[in-house]
């Protein structure tokens, strides 16, 4: 190590940039050797700014490329002229010898004898050291802007007034804290450092910074070991260990490494998660750390250079330390070690997250999800609406069934006297037969034939009474519609049977004209009986004003032309008045003084529910005809 020797410890920079720092010089274009950059800028329509980047390490160090690109990008965004770049990689970490340094000075002086720089960037502590040491020798009058120099190294240097820049902080302690946060059960900390001066400087930092944890944790310092031994050691760490990799640029056997190499080997061999402080190491197998990026560093340095170019004093333009450090982790490593993302500090950057579909197609996915969401909401809305509608339909149907049933019960109520008579007939017959039998049995000789006949008659009458009750019961009870094939003629006869007494009572005569051999229709027996009963009662009502002998109606069945069957009730009443004929099927439309006026409206809804039609026409001579047409049962012959 040269004069810079002690400071070769420049951790921040050397780690990644291990060899060279760069000097960047702005040269006020070809134009005048104007001293004042402001003046230079003012002058030249064609003025060029010559920038030299001086690196401590060699050109292959990833950090060097990151920094130089970042400087370039930032400068070009703000520079007042065309930029020309020059780079020198001093490689002083690998070749720290004094002769080598002397050769470099000579080489550079001769190389740039005719080149005047406007800005010199010194990247890394060796580069900075070199620049301030030899700027006079090299006839550089440009400001020296440094970056990639640890604040500790900087403190040990004496900077001239034309030097300015930004110090780096590589935070081993916060990185350790990140490790402990992710692995709360940790008991052992393996701290890995190499054999180079730079590495040893890191070891000192660790001893200093980690002191606070010495009591709580078992700190294992693996320093300056030959790589083989180091890796073997790392492979057999005790449980609940964490590895903090600081820097191995050279191992105990004298082998040189880039940080990415040694860190990669360490991470591959270790049986515990490895944490580090340089962001260039992310991706080689370490879990993460608290890091600055080299891009941020380059950008910060370039901004300072621009301010100096604009006339500020370099030392005044300097920032104390780069403050852009952040927690960063390798997402794959989190997975590998089963570490929970939930334990990460807020704002942690996760790198190498599999570019999920989300990352790749975020916009499309959001759009898609939005569309799906809207669609789902729509569908949900529709479903809810449909459900409501269905419930309402059900309710309505229930209500309709209820009303239909009530109407049926009401009409049976009107018939009750006649129905009692219907029931009384068989009961009368039974009682009389039984009493006759008793009398016959009291005689000698007993006329057994007669008694047998009586018993048979009693049986028949009992059945007949039963039928009356069944018919009534069927009409009285509430029930689901039960569609089945029905013979319309039979149905009409049944209803007439039921209404027989009522018709006699009302002195109404019936004529029937049933077309024989009609195919079955499909319907609910009880409901269609209700319809016909209603029509019959209406016919009777209509003829109340007629003379006794003039009360009669006709029931007929027939096919109509359209593959349906018709059931027609023709009365001889006054007919339906023209203003009423269109409203007669509306609910609550009644001409009677009693009743709700629901009968016909219910009849129509029943018939409609059967796929049929109920209509009324006035007859040419007198009275009205109510025509029920019903579709023929699909299974029956047409």
């Amino acid at each position: 190590m040269k004069g810079v020797g002690t400071k070769a410890i420049d951790v921040r920079w050397s780690l990644s940039l291990r060899r060279f720092a760069a000097l960047v010089v702005w040269v006020c274009a070809s134009a005048a050797p104007a001293f004042d950059p402001g003046c230079a800028m003012a002058q030249a329509p064609d003025h060029r700014l010559r920038v030299l980047m001086l690196f401590s390490n060699d050109s292959l160090l990833p950090a060097n490329q990151l920094v130089s690109n970042s400087i370039k990008t930032s400068l070009e965004a703000g520079a007042p002229g065309r930029l020309e770049y020059f780079t020198e990689y001093l490689d002083m970490v690998r070749f720290p010898e004094a002769e080598q340094e002397a050769r470099l000075v000579g080489f550079i002086r001769e190389k740039y004898a005719r080149t005047r720089f406007d800005t010199v960037f010194a990247l890394g502590s060796q580069a900075l050291d070199f620049a301030i040491k030899y700027q006079a020798t090299l006839s550089w009058d440009a400001p020296v802007i440094y970056a990639g120099v640890r604040e500790e190294s900087l403190r040990a240097m004496k900077l001239p007034s034309n030097a300015g820049g930004i110090a780096s902080r590589f935070d081993a302690l916060t990185t350790l804290e990140l490790a402990l946060r992710l692995l709360p059960d940790t008991q052992h900390i393996a701290v890995v450092t190499g054999a180079s001066n730079f590495d040893r400087a890191w070891e000192d930092v660790a001893h200093d910074k980690f002191k606070a944890y010495e009591k709580r944790l078992n700190l294992i310092y693996l320093s300056a070991m030959p790589m083989q031994d180091l890796l073997r050691e790392l492979a057999h760490l005790p449980q609940h260990s964490v590895v903090i990799y600081l820097s191995v640029l050279e191992d105990g056997a004298g082998a040189q490494f880039y940080g990415t190499d040694s860190a990669g080997q360490v991470a591959a061999a270790a049986n515990a998660p490895v944490f580090a402080v340089y962001d260039t190491l992310l991706g080689v197998g370490i879990v993460g750390g608290y890091m600055n990026t080299f891009e941020d560093m380059g950008e910060a340095a370039a901004k300072i250079a621009l301010r100096v170019l604009a006339g500020e004093r370099p030392d005044a333009a300097s920032s104390r330390v780069l403050q852009t450090a952040y927690f960063v982790v390798d997402w794959r490593q989190l997975r590998r070690w089963g570490l929970s993302e939930a334990n990460l500090p807020a704002g942690t950057t996760a790198r190498f997250k599999d570019p999920s579909l989300w990352d790749l197609y975020r916009g499309q996915i959001i759009a898609l999800i939005a569309v799906l969401l809207v669609q789902s909401l729509l569908i949900m809305g529709l479903l809810i609406q449909d459900r409501k509608r269905r419930r309402a339909v059900l309710e309505a149907k229930k209500g309709r069934d209820e009303v239909t049933h009530l109407a049926r019960v009401a009409i049976l109520g009107e018939l009750s006297g006649a129905l009692a008579h219907e029931l009384n007939q068989p009961l009368t017959a039974i009682l009389s037969n039984a009493q006759a039998a008793q009398r016959l049995l009291a005689k000698t000789p007993v006329d057994l034939d007669e008694v047998r006949e009586i018993l048979s008659d009693i049986g028949d009458d009992d059945k007949r009474a039963g039928e009356v009750i069944n018919r009534l019961h069927a009409l009285m009870k509430k029930g689901e519609a039960n569609l089945r094939p029905l013979d319309l003629n039979g149905l009409a006869k049944d209803v007439l049977e039921l209404a027989r007494s009522e018709l006699i009572e009302r002195n109404v005569a019936v004529t029937t004209r049933f077309t024989p051999g009609l195919p079955d229709i499909r319907g609910d027996l009880v409901q269609l009986q209700q319809v016909l009963l209603n029509l019959i009662m209406n016919a009777c009502e209509a003829m109340v004003g007629n003379a006794d002998a003039d009360r009669s109606f006709e029931i007929s069945t027939a096919r109509d032309g359209n593959g349906r069957q018709q059931l027609v009730v023709v009365d001889r009443g006054p007919g339906v008045s023209p203003e009423l004929i269109n409203r007669i099927f509306e609910p609550f439309m009644t001409t009677k003084t009693h009743g709700l006026g629901l009968g016909l409206s219910i009849c129509r809804s029943i018939v409609t529910a059967h796929g049929g039609q109920l209509r009324v026409v006035n007859n040419p001579d007198r009275g009205a005809s109510f025509i029920v047409s019903l579709p023929i049962h699909a299974g029956g012959q047409a």
Binding site: T428, L431, N433, A436, R439, I454, A509
Partner: protein, 222 residues
């Protein structure tokens, strides 16, 4: 107790009721003549046969009440018992007003029915008997000459022979001859019998007109 020749005329449109009632009444010792409709009954029934009618009130065509009216119109006084499924007040009142002797509701009890029938037949018998007596009297009355009838009227009015003779412009002796001939023809032995008979057929001093028949009373004798 029943007249052997009395017949119960049953009219009911319900065949099984008709059959059962027929059986019951036959078993109860009655002659029964059953009809399925009022028309059949009207067409076939013989008013001369004693007995009563048991009518169902509710029948198609003619109803029971109309049948009763038709019977009465035809001069048939046969007592009618109504049987009805509905014992509603209006129809029973109408029936009774129209001369029903009884009104029973279905199902009828045997006792009620047989008792009603017994009463009706008895009533028919009495009516027929009364009508028989009256017509015998009327027949006898027909055999009287106008002069004798005139004498009868005066006798019934309680006039002495002398007075009658004076009224008729004849002599007392002639009146006596007429009077005894009237007594003979009418088949009575005493004046009191004659007066009673005359009262039955409604002959009074003023009503006994020559050639005119007294009309028969509507109501049966008490």
């Amino acid at each position: 107790m029943n007249d052997d020749t009395a017949t119960v005329f049953l009219v009911d449109d319900d065949p099984s009721v008709l059959r059962a009632l027929t059986r019951l009444l036959r078993a109860g010792g009655h002659q029964v003549s059953a009809f399925g409709s009022p028309r059949d009954f009207l067409a076939q029934h013989d008013a001369a046969v004693p007995g009563c009618v048991v009518l169902d009130l509710t029948m198609p065509g003619l109803n029971g009440l109309e049948l009763q009216t038709a019977l009465a119109a035809a001069g048939c006084q046969r007592p009618v018992i109504f049987v009805s499924g509905q014992g509603d007040v209006p129809s029973s009142v109408r029936a009774m007003k129209a001369g029903a002797v009884d009104f029973l509701t279905k199902p009828v009890s045997e006792e009620d029915l047989l008792a009603a029938i017994g009463r009706a037949i008895e009533r028919d018998r009495l009516m027929r008997q009364a009508r028989g007596e009256l017509s015998a009297i009327a027949e006898r009355l027909d055999t009287l000459t106008p002069r004798e009838r005139e004498v009868l009227r005066h006798v019934v009015a309680g006039q002495p022979n002398k007075q009658i003779a004076a009224d008729l412009g004849t002599v007392e002796k002639t009146v006596k001859v007429h009077r005894s001939r009237v007594m003979g023809k009418m088949g009575v032995r005493s004046l009191a019998d004659l007066v009673r008979m005359a009262e039955r057929i409604g002959i009074t001093a003023t009503t006994a007109q020559s050639g005119s028949h007294p009309h028969l009373p509507d109501t049966p004798p008490r």
